[in-house]
């Protein structure tokens, strides 16, 4: 469909048509200078003016400046400015540490930013620990090969819950601090648009990327080709990996994740696998044993908390930007009328009870949902 459209009609044709309309318009404009202004003519001319406009309008320089924030690998787009490691530490402690940990080591909200790079890596430009299976997970610093990437990303997206709120100098400063945590720049370092290329030349994994592969262009050659054998291909087939028994129910009861009719049912993973063949029974609805009729009546508070983004700041058992739900439960479970108390707090938001960071008011969340979540926290029934 697209092929025929795109070959038969493209933007040039569109412009052609528009140009034709413009010609007619000009002719009419000439007529206009001769003719008296009749109402009919005005209407016609307006109609032409509208259709003659190319869709969209020129972007103003100020608009482009407001949105064109990307910083490329060659640092094109980097605004002038500077920031010290010391200033960066202040920004980090106020706006980043909560999620990423004091040393960028936290694994609670995202994979660690700092770790597993060495002075030797800075010399070679390749992170040694990227070969072999010696680290549990790859940190940001292990993978980073362009400093522009770090600057651009913090500038456009961090802090996660308030992106694009840092000043240019704050971005320089906190970038310097991250580099300092990674052991790349010293404590008294000041990062600026003037010296950023020198720091680029020190990045531990600066030579750790390749674009030599067959997956950039459709015309590139794939590096792994399957076999076309159709008969008696393998003498023997061994099962080399399967899910261990203890993980049988790790994704919830699979019986409640499959359709209730058809040639198959979901396996009841709350039970051990049957030894011999037994006709499977359907289990209704996602919440395993919940009867079908009850499901719509009572909303799942855990789902509501996710839906209203409470879980972006509150883990059930772990502190994120806000306290963990378990900690909130412990604090208020014995309070008088705890559900109403919590519901009020959620709706109004607040600060100073758990720390300096404020919880935004949640007035946009329907009262019924707030109440369901408040009951859930008050009961502490998190499983």
């Amino acid at each position: 469909m697209y092929k025929s459209l795109s070959s038969g009609c493209d933007a040039r044709l569109l412009r052609c048509a528009i140009a034709r309309v413009r010609l007619v318009h000009v002719a009419f404009a000439r007529l206009a200078s001769i003719a008296s202004r009749t109402l009919l003519f005005v209407i016609f001319a307006n109609a032409l003016t509208t259709s003659a406009q190319t869709p969209g309008r020129p972007a103003t320089p100020v608009e482009i400046k407001a949105w064109d924030i990307d910083v490329r690998a060659d640092f094109k787009g980097l605004p002038p400015g500077s920031g010290s490691v010391a200033k960066g530490q202040e920004v980090w402690e106020a706006k980043c540490e909560n999620c990423h940990g004091a040393f960028g080591e936290s694994n609670e909200v995202f994979t660690p930013i700092i770790g597993y790079t060495t002075q030797q890596d800075m010399k070679t430009g390749r992170v040694a620990k990227l070969t072999g299976d010696t680290v549990p997970q790859r940190t940001t610093m292990m993978k980073l090969s362009q400093l522009s990437t770090l600057w651009d990303y913090i500038n456009r997206a961090m802090p996660w819950n308030a992106p694009k709120t840092l000043t240019t100098d704050e971005v320089y400063a906190v970038t310097a601090y991250v580099l300092n945590l990674g052991g790349i720049v010293p404590n008294e370092f000041v990062l600026s648009d003037k010296n950023i290329r020198e720091v680029q030349a020190m990045l531990p994994n600066r030579d750790g990327k390749t674009r030599e592969h067959g997956m950039w262009n459709v015309s590139d050659k794939p590096d792994v080709q399957g076999s076309t054998c159709r008969n008696n291909c393998d003498a023997k087939v061994d099962i080399t990996s399967r899910l261990p028994d203890y993980a049988r129910n790790a994704h919830g009861n699979l019986a409640s994740q499959m359709r209730l009719v058809g040639g198959v049912r979901g396996a009841d993973t709350t039970q051990a696998a049957p030894v011999t063949f037994t006709t499977p029974r359907p289990i209704a609805n996602s919440q395993a044993s919940t009867p079908a009729i009850a499901i719509s009546a009572k909303p799942d508070p855990a789902k509501l908390a996710a839906q209203h983004a409470c879980t972006a700041c509150h883990g059930v058992a772990n502190k994120l930007l806000g306290p963990s739900l378990k900690d909130i439960h412990a604090k208020y479970r014995d309070a008088k009328d705890s559900v109403a108390l919590l519901a009020g707090k959620i709706k109004a938001g607040g600060s100073g009870v758990w720390g300096a960071i404020a919880m935004p008011a949640q007035g946009h969340v329907p009262d019924a949902d707030i109440r369901a979540i408040a009951e859930w926290i008050a009961n502490g029934d998190f499983k």
């Binding site: 990307d70 008696n232 049912r265 996710a306």
Partner: protein
């Protein structure tokens, strides 16, 4: 494969059996308590039921679903427009987008997997399209959304949704697959069902404007331009480089999905559609395209969506989703109802073109036969395949292997690992193996 045991007209379980025992207890009116007795009796004669006849459960008189007229046959149903926007039957609630426990830490930087095990044909229902958010999702007011093109163009421009939707439009069906789909399985089996192994995959009909038209409209400098950068309007300001060849070919600025506007989870009101290329490049909440002359090394091109090779180097800009297929029924976590005929069915796709052939093996890859491809078979789109199969009650390992129009054949896990190791995370297009056990349960296995 022709089936001899295909028993047409086998009695299906009555709808009442969808209810759990507790539910039956809860609603124990006379008719239902009769059924409950039948149900309990049936559990005692599971063997009889398994052998194919449910009549044993009903005193040989007949199926209660036939003999006792249900409420929907004897009462008045709901009126029109009872739901201004329709939703699926409550009996379909099992099919939900789900997270894989432990995969990510916070819901707003996470992924939910589409329940492929329940889909028919090739189109993903909009409400079950997989989700991937880096900084939460938004429902953006379309009257306030703006789209800008700048960089190496003669006339940088701003378009409103009105502008874009007034232009000549086109509609096209394409798959979208996350580069990390099946990524958990590089080292070993990690998840139980096709929802979690392959569910970062969806396929929709998109409606919008070819990017080429818009680039032409802004007077793109074709002498200098080599790449474009696409950027989202959300907090993550997601940015991805797309090479100009792709951008001028079939990339599209889309507002429509499956006949309506995009869903908020999928980028309402505007997203980029980059056929054949990993989902991260299909920028949601698209606000800007910059035309440039070198790749941009954005966060999700330098720190993620880079494939770690055994030599410790990361491959960057591995964009194309290569030829791949998977059987969706029978698949992991399912149990076969009984021996006999099954329609083995699944989907195949390639980011390099069309699917030319899908072969199916029931013996772990020793022998292969061609599956039937359902039409339509479209470019960079899912293709549905089917194969007749009879389960004889013993172990079987089901696999599918796709070949695309460029002649690229889907590899085995062993072939992939030989070249790319086990730590790539991204672009695992290996042949999937499902073990049908003698107990009727299907499980995710890897074979060599």
């Amino acid at each position: 494969m022709k089936s001899s045991k295909f028993s047409i007209g086998r009695l299906q379980k009555a709808p009442e059996f969808f209810l759990s025992r507790e539910a039956l207890d809860l609603h124990g009116d006379d008719r239902r308590s009769f059924l409950r007795k039948a149900f309990l009796a049936a559990s005692g004669v599971a063997g009889a039921a398994a052998s194919g006849s449910l009549l044993a459960q009903t005193d040989s008189v007949g199926d209660p679903a036939i003999l006792n007229l249900p409420a929907h046959s004897t009462g008045l149903g709901a009126p029109v427009a009872a739901k201004g926007y329709g939703t699926p039957s409550k009996f379909e609630e099992n099919l939900q987008r789900r997270e894989s426990p432990g995969l990510t830490r916070v819901g707003a930087a996470s992924v939910s997997f589409a329940p492929l095990q329940g889909f028919f044909g090739i189109i993903t229902p909009s409400g079950l399209h997989f989700e991937r958010h880096h900084q939460g999702f938004w429902d953006i007011d379309p009257t306030q959304h703006r789209f800008m093109i700048n960089g190496l163009v003669k006339n940088p421009k701003v378009y409103t949704m009105d502008d874009l939707m007034r232009l000549p439009s086109m509609s096209r069906m394409h798959f979208i697959e996350c580069g990390a789909n099946t990524g958990m399985e590089w080292g070993n089996v990690a998840v139980p069902t096709v929802q979690y192994t392959h569910g970062m995959l969806s396929c929709c009909e998109y409606t919008g404007v070819p990017l080429k038209w818009l680039l032409d409209d802004c007077g793109i400098d074709l002498k200098k331009a080599k790449y474009i950068l696409a950027e989202g309007a959300d907090g993550s300001g997601m940015t991805r480089t797309i090479n100009l060849k792709n951008a001028l070919d079939d990339v599209m600025v889309a507002y429509g999905m499956n006949g309506e506007m995009l869903r908020p989870e999928n980028g309402y009101p505007l997203r980029l559609v980059v056929p054949g290329v990993q989902g991260v490049s299909w920028i949601k909440y698209l606000r800007r395209i910059e035309v440039g002359d070198m790749p941009y090394d954005s966060k999700d091109e330098n720190l993620h969506y880079t494939d770690l090779m055994p030599d410790g180097k990361h491959r960057q800009y591995t964009s194309i989703q290569e030829v791949k297929s998977v059987i969706t029924t029978p698949s992991g976590g399912q149990v076969l109802l009984d021996k006999g005929f099954y329609n083995v069915t699944g989907i195949a796709w390639s980011g390099r073109g069309k699917i030319r052939r899908v072969e199916v093996s029931a013996d772990g890859g020793k022998n292969w036969k061609d599956a039937r491809l359902e039409t339509p078979v479209l470019d960079k789109c899912l293709t549905r395949f089917n194969m007749d199969w009879t389960w004889n009650g013993s172990d079987a390992i089901l696999q599918s292997r796709a070949t695309d129009s460029t002649g690229h054949v889907q590899p085995t896990m062993t072939q992939l690992r030989a070249k790319r190791g086990t730590r790539s995370i991204y672009h695992n297009n290996a042949i999937q193996s499902w073990l049908v056990g003698a107990n009727g349960e299907v499980s995710n296995v890897q074979v060599a």
